[in-house]
């Protein structure tokens, strides 16, 4: 009988990855978790509220991080990603690359380095809607709670200034990229998703018009720790948004872009419509849709949102968006397919409901069955590497958590059956 390595490697420290790691560790297995970003929590850290309960993601994350701190079976690495996987079920060799953070465990988050730093970079946490110092704390609830230095200032006087400002000697400018190998018996791929690149839909003009944003950017506008402190202000002139449109299926259900339905964008827009209505009672929301896909128990949420008279639903796939020259307002055109009329409407801001693209296995690795869009299939023929969460199908947080738990049991079975 071959020896089976008893470690489980989890790739991705978002909701799915953290859940899978915790479930496996709490069942008594050793877990190694790698996360590309400088903090755990993934995309949900950037969200204002979850649907349908409209509660913030922080509390759920805090509970998970607490479980993680208490569990010695989990080891995790941030700013880390796998670069190569070889071997077979029970005996994988994985090469991990860790990018330098330039800040060590000594960091107390006192913020002295940030005070002296002058260079600013686009804030990745706000999808570029705001600027941040080149040495920064990714966000208030970051776990691990530690600063990061952007590589762009390393080697400059600025970096040395930050180093001198640190009272704890926590800045190490000589930190190098590390590459090392680990062994694992089973792998859970929970690398999550990226929003579809809206600039590929050339007839909408994303990137060209300032007041045309995507649904993930809308989350940041609504979040209290976002670029506008939670006020929904449009990017061009910081005017409070009164008339707003949501364009559903922006690139989804479209053979020229993403042929599949991402399943969550309708609900996200319904939720975001409530953000706008709650923050500004005078606001008017229009949702342009092909079909509202609020399935199962989520239909109650749709029914609730529909009751608001200031939220209009128009069945239309928007064909063109143009910008009014002086005001920065956006003009939306398409066909109202219920009335059979051509429409042309003006809005302060337009939100494109873009779909989810899976961060599929794109490194040298044993063959794992995937569908034509890159979603990982759970196939009982190939064992040892299991997808979890949005890499398996575009889905919401609750389903990702369930799916990650399922992946954890699959991984446990994989290493214990021999």
């Amino acid at each position: 009988m071959e020896a089976t390595n008893q470690n489980i490697l989890v790739v991705g420290g978002g909701m799915s990855g953290v859940t899978a790691a915790l479930e496996a560790a709490e069942a008594g297995y050793n877990v190694i978790l790698v996360e590309k970003r400088p903090y755990l929590g993934g995309k949900v850290t950037q969200f204002y509220h979850y649907f349908p309960k409209l509660c913030p993601p922080n509390c759920g994350l805090e509970i998970n991080f607490k479980r993680m701190k208490q569990n010695p079976r989990i080891r995790f690495f941030t700013m880390a990603e796998p670069v190569k996987i070889s071997g077979k079920e029970g005996d994988y060799d994985v090469t991990i690359k860790i990018s330098p953070r330039y800040v060590t465990e000594k960091c107390t988050c006192c913020g002295k380095c940030e005070e002296v730093c002058e260079t600013e970079i686009d804030n990745p946490f706000d999808f570029g809607l705001s600027k941040i110092k080149a040495i920064y704390l990714p966000h208030e609830f970051a776990f691990p709670m530690r600063y990061v230095m952007d590589p762009s200032i390393v080697g400059t006087e600025e970096a040395k200034k930050c180093q001198q400002a640190c009272p704890y000697g926590a800045i190490d400018l000589d930190m190098k990229e590390q590459v090392f190998d680990i062994k694992a018996g089973a792998i859970i791929w929970a690398a999550g998703w990226e929003p579809y690149e809206a600039n590929k839909i050339e007839y909408y003009g994303f990137g060209e018009y300032k007041n045309l944003i995507t649904n993930v950017m809308m989350e940041r506008l609504a979040a209290p720790n976002g670029p506008t402190d939670g006020k929904i202000l449009r990017p061009s002139d910081n005017k409070e948004v009164k008339k707003i449109a949501f364009v559903q299926c922006a690139g989804s259900r479209d053979e020229n872009h993403l042929p599949y339905c991402s399943g969550v964008c309708c609900l996200a827009s319904l939720k975001q419509a409530l953000y706008v209505r709650e923050k500004n009672p005078e606001s008017e929301v229009t949702i342009f849709y092909i079909d509202i896909r609020a399935l199962d128990r989520y239909e109650d949420f749709f029914t609730k949102v529909k009751q608001d008279e200031k939220i209009n639903f128009i069945r239309s796939k928007i064909a063109t968006i143009t910008e009014e020259e002086n005001t920065g307002d956006l003009i939306v055109e398409g066909e109202d397919t219920h009335k059979g009329e051509q429409i042309r409407m003006k809005f302060d801001m337009v939100v494109l409901a873009t779909g989810l693209v899976p961060n599929t296995i794109n490194i040298e690795a044993p063959d794992v069955p995937k569908d034509k869009f890159g979603f990982i299939l759970r196939d009982d023929v190939v064992k040892g590497i299991y997808g979890a969460g949005c890499v398996r199908r575009p889905t919401d947080v609750a389903t990702s958590v369930q799916d990650a738990t399922a992946a954890a049991i699959k991984a446990i079975q994989s290493i214990s059956r021999r």
Binding site: R253, E255, I290, A319, T320, G334, T337
Partner: protein
């Protein structure tokens, strides 16, 4: 009048290229939304498809929309289901003419005169084409039509886009006609 005619639908599916794609349509409205002539259509393309699907062939063949297409390709490029909207509209226009239903006579006249010019000379004689087109509704209307376009005619003359003398046939016009005849035979098969 709404009428159900299943046999007629079968004929449309047989005669019109890509017509089977009407079953892929999800009625999103992108085709008309992208169409530069959307405000002139009685039925947007998605409605044409829905009418076909429900067997209302007469409404479709009598519709102005099928004669309006200028082949700009916007609908084909943007259709989320990859339907050949433009080809289907042209196919329906051809089929309508074949069935003796010409909802926009001037469009059909222009197209037919254009084709005759190509067959005769291998090129278009702008003044001959416009004369035939303008006067297809009678002499009085013809003079009105011609006068309304006089400005453009002068500009075209000045830029050498239209000549005062009749255009000569291209070299090898006979070979071109052989090719066109062959193409027409092929398309009928």
């Amino acid at each position: 009048m709404i009428s159900w005619n299943n046999n007629a639908l079968r004929d449309v599916l047989k005669e019109v290229d890509y017509a089977e794609e009407i079953y892929k349509c999800i009625q999103c409205g992108m085709c008309a939304g992208s169409c530069p002539l959307r405000h002139h259509m009685d039925y947007p393309p998605r409605k044409i498809f829905a009418l076909l699907r429900t067997g209302n062939i007469d409404l479709v063949l009598n519709s102005k929309s099928i004669f309006l297409c200028t082949s700009c390709y916007s609908c084909i490029v943007r259709c989320p289901r990859g339907i050949h909207v433009m080809d289907i509209m042209h196919g329906l226009a051809h089929y309508a003419i074949k069935m003796g239903k010409i909802s926009r006579k001037n469009t059909a006249t222009f197209g037919q005169e254009f084709w005759k010019q190509i067959y005769k000379r291998g090129r278009v004689d702008e003044k001959d084409l416009s004369r035939r087109y303008f006067f297809s509704d009678g002499i009085v209307q013809g003079i009105k039509n011609a006068l309304s376009m006089a400005d453009m005619g002068i500009i075209m003359l000045l830029h050498g886009r239209m000549k005062l003398l009749p255009e000569k046939p291209i070299k090898g016009i006979k070979q071109l006609r052989i090719m066109l005849d062959k193409a027409e035979q092929e398309s009928r098969r």
